[in-house]
């Protein structure tokens, strides 16, 4: 079964994959900071979507699709057009390189993010484990 991106089911499946990942747990052992991912419309996707991912001490205790960016408070907000999210999920855009080239824009304490590059990488590894339907 493939999970449509972006959707409540997709972010919940990512959360489940993270909770099963030993590599993520080890690399984010001290991490505290939830994310809201903002999917912006572009040629391939015609609306905005908001996904909340709770992250705490190497686990993901919560995940849900939101109606708006402000529905749940998060320490970090990461935004990108749909196509760039797709590239990240498919492993075609490294998330750190994406942030360096502003393909992914992050609001929040980048100093903190920089201390956990491996955790960022593991989140993307888990993204790739989610069977994803991009609505093609």
């Amino acid at each position: 079964m493939a999970f449509q991106f972006p959707s409540d089911e997709w972010i919940k499946e990512l959360s489940r994959q993270l909770n099963e990942s030993e590599a993520y747990e080890k690399s984010a052992r001290d991490w505290e900071g939830d994310f809201v991912f903002v999917v912006e419309p572009d040629d391939e996707y015609d609306r905005s979507a908001y996904l909340f991912l709770g992250l705490y001490h190497g686990k993901s205790p919560a995940a849900q699709a939101l109606e708006s960016e402000d529905e749940r408070e998060a320490e970090f907000v990461m935004r990108a057009p749909f196509t760039n999210w797709r590239k990240v999920i498919e492993g075609k855009l490294d998330p750190i390189q994406g942030m360096m080239t502003k393909k992914l824009r992050v609001q929040g304490n980048m100093m903190k993010v920089m201390r956990y590059p491996k955790a960022a990488k593991e989140i993307v590894t888990c993204c790739a484990l989610v069977p994803t339907d991009f609505g093609d």
Partner: protein, 403 residues
């Protein structure tokens, strides 16, 4: 989309003459005490003063410079108000110079805030010149800054594309007096940059050629440069010389190779050998080049089983093996160990003199730190925590990785 950044590079015999043309009011030289003693700071200072600049020297940079050092250097800069910062030395003074420059321009920043995601707005007060006195780090052309957090015994990878130097002066005369061990350690550092720049997942078409060229030069000229350093040391020991080398071809080609490798990996990335080497350096003060070179063959062998292609390709280009696949990658690792042996360097952690008991007592923290080092994210084969732990043990014993 990606970037390639570089200073203007003045290189070759007589490159130091570029200082004679520098225009400005004041220059702050950031360096270390050894280079003051060796007279190299006086050489640079004299040229800057002849060019009409007032000069102040900050010579407090220690190996593996810490946050406090760059803060002190920034205070000196604030008082002196230079329009040029001159980073003179090996990687430590040049990295410190970069950080001091950023903090001078942006006193609102904490050193740890120097990251690639922000706009720094540099070059409002000063510009940066780098002059390497070793042939290895490539720091003269890279924007990365490595500082050490002494409290956490952890190396911090910082930097922003803006803090690349404006001018890099790569004059072989500045490195011709390196003693044998320093020549070997720094040359192997450059080799590690070349190999990792070529094989990391962030490699690019634009950087590949630089990495291959650097690796070729290093395999060819490093043994000669080290032999020259031994000869110079013997001559000095018998009162017949100043310690300067005489095989200037080898010295110059190595100096150029280090800069090429710096451009190569600095615009791609380093990788797992640096993650492991950083930890050995931070924990046991193994010199950086020695630490990463010890680690490199083990990380290549680890990648060889599942992701050998780039290593095999490089092995072919360097004439190590035409076999392809895992076999070629392992041949590259073996060739690197041969070079380490040839220049008198260790190929295992045990050979550095670290006691096994001491090593194992630090093992969990080392694995933890390497696992979370910035450089590990570009590894061709990502290690699990347990695999990384195993690799540290193999590297200690000198056992080729077979998992």
């Amino acid at each position: 989309m990606w970037y390639f950044v570089s200073p203007e590079i003045v290189f070759g015999e007589g490159a130091l003459d570029a200082l004679d043309e520098l225009q400005g009011e004041r220059a702050l030289i950031v360096t270390d005490a050894t280079l003051v003693d060796l007279g190299m700071v006086a050489e640079v200072q004299g040229r800057l003063e002849a060019a009409g600049l007032g000069v102040q020297v900050f010579a407090e940079v220690e190996p593996d410079p810490g946050l406090q050092t760059v803060r002190r250097g920034a205070e000196v800069a604030h008082e002196f108000q230079p329009d040029w910062i001159v980073g003179l030395g090996g990687g430590s003074p040049m990295d410190a110079a970069k950080a001091i420059w950023v903090l001078y321009e942006r006193p609102d920043l904490h050193p740890a805030e120097i990251n690639p995601f922000v706009h720094l707005g540099l070059r409002q007060k000063a510009r940066l010149v780098t002059i390497p006195t070793t042939s290895g780090t490539g720091a003269e052309v890279t924007w990365g800054i490595v500082l050490t957090d002494a409290e956490e015994q952890r190396k911090m990878g910082l930097g922003n594309r803006e803090n690349v130097a404006d001018i890099a002066i790569v004059d072989p005369a500045m490195a011709a007096g390196m003693p044998p061990q320093l020549t070997a350690d720094t040359g192997l550092d450059a080799l590690t940059h070349a190999v990792e720049g070529y094989t990391c997942t962030w490699h690019t078409d634009v950087t590949d050629g630089l990495c291959v060229s650097a690796a070729r030069l290093i395999f060819q000229y490093l043994p000669r440069a080290v032999a020259d350093a031994h000869s110079a040391a013997l001559r000095r020991g018998s009162g017949q010389g100043s310690g300067q080398g005489s095989d200037m071809e080898a010295r110059e080609r190595m100096h150029n190779a280090a800069t090429c490798a710096g451009l190569g990996f600095g615009n791609a990335m380093a990788s797992m050998a640096h993650a492991v080497g950083h930890v050995l350096g931070a924990t046991f003060h193994v010199p950086h080049g020695r630490a990463v070179a010890i680690s490199l063959p083990y990380t290549i062998e680890f990648a060889a089983r599942e992701a050998p292609d780039r290593f095999a390709e490089l092995a072919g280009l360097l004439g190590c093996s035409q076999a392809g696949g895992e076999q070629a990658a392992r041949a590259l690792a073996a060739r690197i160990r041969d070079l380490c042996r040839e220049v008198g360097n260790p190929i295992s952690v045990a050979e550095t003199g670290i006691e096994r008991e001491t090593y194992e007592a630090q093992l969990e923290k080392m694995v933890d730190d390497a696992f979370n080092d910035t450089q590990i994210i570009t590894a061709a084969r990502a290690p699990s925590y347990d695999e990384l732990r195993q690799l540290f043990l193999y590297a200690y014993e000198g056992r080729p990785v077979d998992f």
